[in-house]
Amino acid sequence: MAHSNESKKETRTTRRDFLKTSTLAASAAVSGALDVSRSVFAAGSDTIRVGVIGCGGRNAGAAAQALTADSGARLAAMCDIFMDRVKEKRQLLKEQKGSQVTVDDDHCFTGFDGYKHVIESSDVVLIANAAKFHPFHAMAAVEAGKHVFVEKPHGIDPAGVKLMQRASELAKQKGLCFVSGLHSRYHTGYAETVQRIHDGAIGDVVAIEENFLRGPYGVIERKQGLSEVEWQCSTQYHFRWLSGDDVVQSLVHNLDRSSWVMRNQAPVKCHGLGGRSSMTEPIYGDVFDHHSVVYEFESGALIYAFCRTTNGCYDSSSSIILGSKGKADIMRCRIWGETNWRWEGRCDPYQREHDVLFAAIRSGPPVNNGDYMARSTMISVMGQISCYTGREVTWEQVNKSDFYYPPKPEECRDGMEPPVKAGADGSYPVPKPGFTQMI
């Protein structure tokens, strides 16, 4: 006997109603009745065309969240380096969102230029592809007058982060929304915990321990017939020129929370260690599998930040804040010490990102996360560079640098030569701390 989720919802009031609980979601739901004069789409139309650049699991998820956030949203265009990913995700989204998925074959695009066509066909662009392209595609969308949701990291190198910063500033000038996938900021429990720290609940922040220790990114077997560049794109988390590696790609969430706790300051300097000991086969590309970075703030407060992608080791995902009068665990939304407190609630920050975005598109004012997007990503970039070079890196240095992983995103062409190539043994060259030069 088949039954649906709908039937149970009718018969029960569920205890954990994660979705649609925030007032923002509620306002999005009624926003059809609100002023739409600000919007870029045709007067009288309540349809918002959504385009996705990148058709991996995350952007398919983001598309579903966008369509959930706003009943007038329609998925209108999609692109990816690989057409089979576009078609697969379109099918999955159709199954979940039905008539909200209107993208036809003529609006499925592929190749390095696919993004242009998606931007043309959309009012809001969701960007979650290889992070190398995030700033470039975000800038292109804003220049075309489109609202943007863009996943973290917001650049993989100093040049990229600066471009993202310029894109966010341009969005501000144009009155466009510019929303970041650094989801911690959209978690109401994290927000309340950070607010309490700012209000003095643990005294002065002395040190922060950041952990993102877990198993590796999914490994994909190399399919027959892929060119070297296509292969690298298909497993982009394992190539530095596409993903920026793990400090930038993942520890950025932790560093964003740290910076938030430190009242949106940046550290003055850092030193990092890193290497690879388990992910050494060619299939793991040219990234490290463990990193640790120590950051120092003007006040003397320190962040000890760790990430690892290895199976069978101690795992931890946490942001622990040590203060002069107590301790806070951001991800568990708890405070101990002079005051003891815990948040009681549930939040789906991924959904909230889109609830906020679409509510703002409908009824303004525009939401723009550019400030912390750029700072938190640059903090991760300086840490990553320190791990690769083995040298201390200052905030000033990384901001002066225009380093980028070649080729520039705008120079990427279908059929181009890969920027990194395997050696005779099939493995790719990796950075060598003490020898590698970057900035």
């Binding site: 006997m1 088949a2 039954h3 649906s4 989720n5 039937s7 149970k8 018969t11 029960r12 569920t14 205890r15 954990r16 109603d17 994660f18 979705l19 991996g56 699991g57 995350r58 398919a60 998820g61 983001a62 598309a63 579903a64 969240q65 995700k89 999955l92 989204l93 979940q96 989801h183 952990n211 220790l213 877990r214 198993g215 590796p216 990114y217 999914g218 490994v219 994909i220 077997e221 199976n311 069978g312 795992d315 931890s316 995902s317 946490s318 665990d329 991800m331 568990r332 708890r334 815990r342 009681e344 549930r346 789906d348 991924y350 959904q351």
Partner: protein, 357 residues
């Protein structure tokens, strides 16, 4: 290896409740039997008839550590499943009450711990992306039966599977599919047939012969002696086995974490079952989208802590996974859902099978 003291204690505990005394002769006889089999029983293994009242299973992890848990015999019988109209906090899907006959089986005295679930995770985790269905079917067909090394295991969890809890806390945040896969792993590892309990078995074991609201009685003021729930949990799961057991020796049936059971959820299930009452060993609807979880958890208010209260996978349980398709293995961040293992008894053997297939 268990100590003699523990064995004596267990025998007393298992039998004491039924008013029986243990004498030295039984103990010696029992010890002789113990030395012959791969696991430790308690109860009356020397008396030829009937399965042991309980046994301890020990699993050796990949790194050579031993993890043990205890299984207790749940006697067969017939009970009234569901709640009577008018029970405070009752929901429609808990009725109508209907008779179910349950064959004897073994149930773990505790919720599956993080320590044991990590042993499974470390042994089976694969960095490979979830295969497409066709590829997966092919792979499973290639797997040699009973070969633990060939098992499909979960993909790495996004974040930390322990969510910061210690080893003796309940394992959390796994999908029903992952809990089922764990049971398959445990079965291959031990040679005994582990599985999730059915919803009927779970409620039968929770009630332990009682017809009242909580199993121990109807007084919610006593709940804190037996369960971690909203009022006393301080917003966290707790180590398993720290509260009082029910009369059949089961810890934390109510509270701490909700427990996956075998059945699909349907609000209609009890109405259908009532039409076929009394049924034997009910297994719930034959198809569905989501599965049932029972017992309430550390966040539950009193009404969700009743023996009859049902919950099931809600959309929000997948909200910690921002991707599409969602992981078939993990419910990231959902620290209120776990499970405990059951084991079938071969009706022909009349005792837990000895691991020799």
């Amino acid at each position: 290896m268990l100590t003699w003291n523990w064995f004596t204690y267990s025998v007393k505990k298992a039998w004491g409740k039924h008013g029986l005394k243990v004498n030295r002769g039984v103990k010696h006889l029992a010890l002789a039997v113990l030395s012959l089999i791969a696991f430790q029983c308690w109860g009356a293994p020397g008396e030829a008839q009937g399965p042991a009242k309980g046994y301890t299973e020990t699993v050796t992890t990949k790194s050579g550590e031993k993890v043990s848990f205890k299984m207790v015999l749940i006697p067969g019988g017939t009970f009234l499943m569901g709640s009577p109209e008018g029970e405070p906090g009752r929901k429609d899907d808990e009725g109508p009450q209907h008779k179910v006959r349950i064959d004897q089986f073994y149930l773990c005295t505790t919720e599956t711990t993080i320590e044991l679930f990590l042993a499974y995770y470390y042994e089976t985790v694969s960095a490979k992306k979830d295969f497409t269905e066709v590829e997966e079917a092919k792979k499973e067909a290639e797997q040699v039966a009973n070969d633990v090394d060939a098992m499909t295991g979960p993909t790495p969890v996004y974040g930390d599977m322990t969510m910061g809890y210690g080893k003796t806390h309940p394992a959390i945040g796994m999908t029903w599919h992952n809990a089922m896969n764990f049971c398959e792993w445990l079965s291959r590892k031990t040679g005994r047939k582990y599985r999730l309990p059915t919803e009927a078995e779970w409620e039968y074991a929770c009630r332990a012969g009682a017809t009242n609201v909580f199993g121990f009685g109807n007084d919610p003021n006593q709940l804190a002696e037996f369960a971690w729930y909203k009022t006393n949990s301080d917003g966290e799961t707790h180590e398993v086995g720290k509260k009082k057991t029910n009369v059949w020796g089961l810890y934390d049936m109510l509270g701490n974490v909700s427990e996956w059971v075998y059945d699909f959820y349907s609000p209609q299930a009890y109405k259908d079952a009532a039409n076929n009452s009394p049924a034997t060993n009910l297994r719930g609807p034959t198809a569905g989208k989501v599965h049932v979880a029972r017992g309430g958890d550390y966040t539950s208010p009193i009404e969700d802590m009743r023996c009859a209260a049902r919950t099931f996978e809600e959309e929000g349980w997948r909200s910690g996974d921002p991707q599409i398709p969602k992981s078939k293995w993990w419910l990231p961040g959902m620290d209120f859902i776990g499970f405990r293992a059951a084991m079938s008894i071969d009706p022909n053997a009349g005792k837990p099978n000895d691991g020799q297939k």
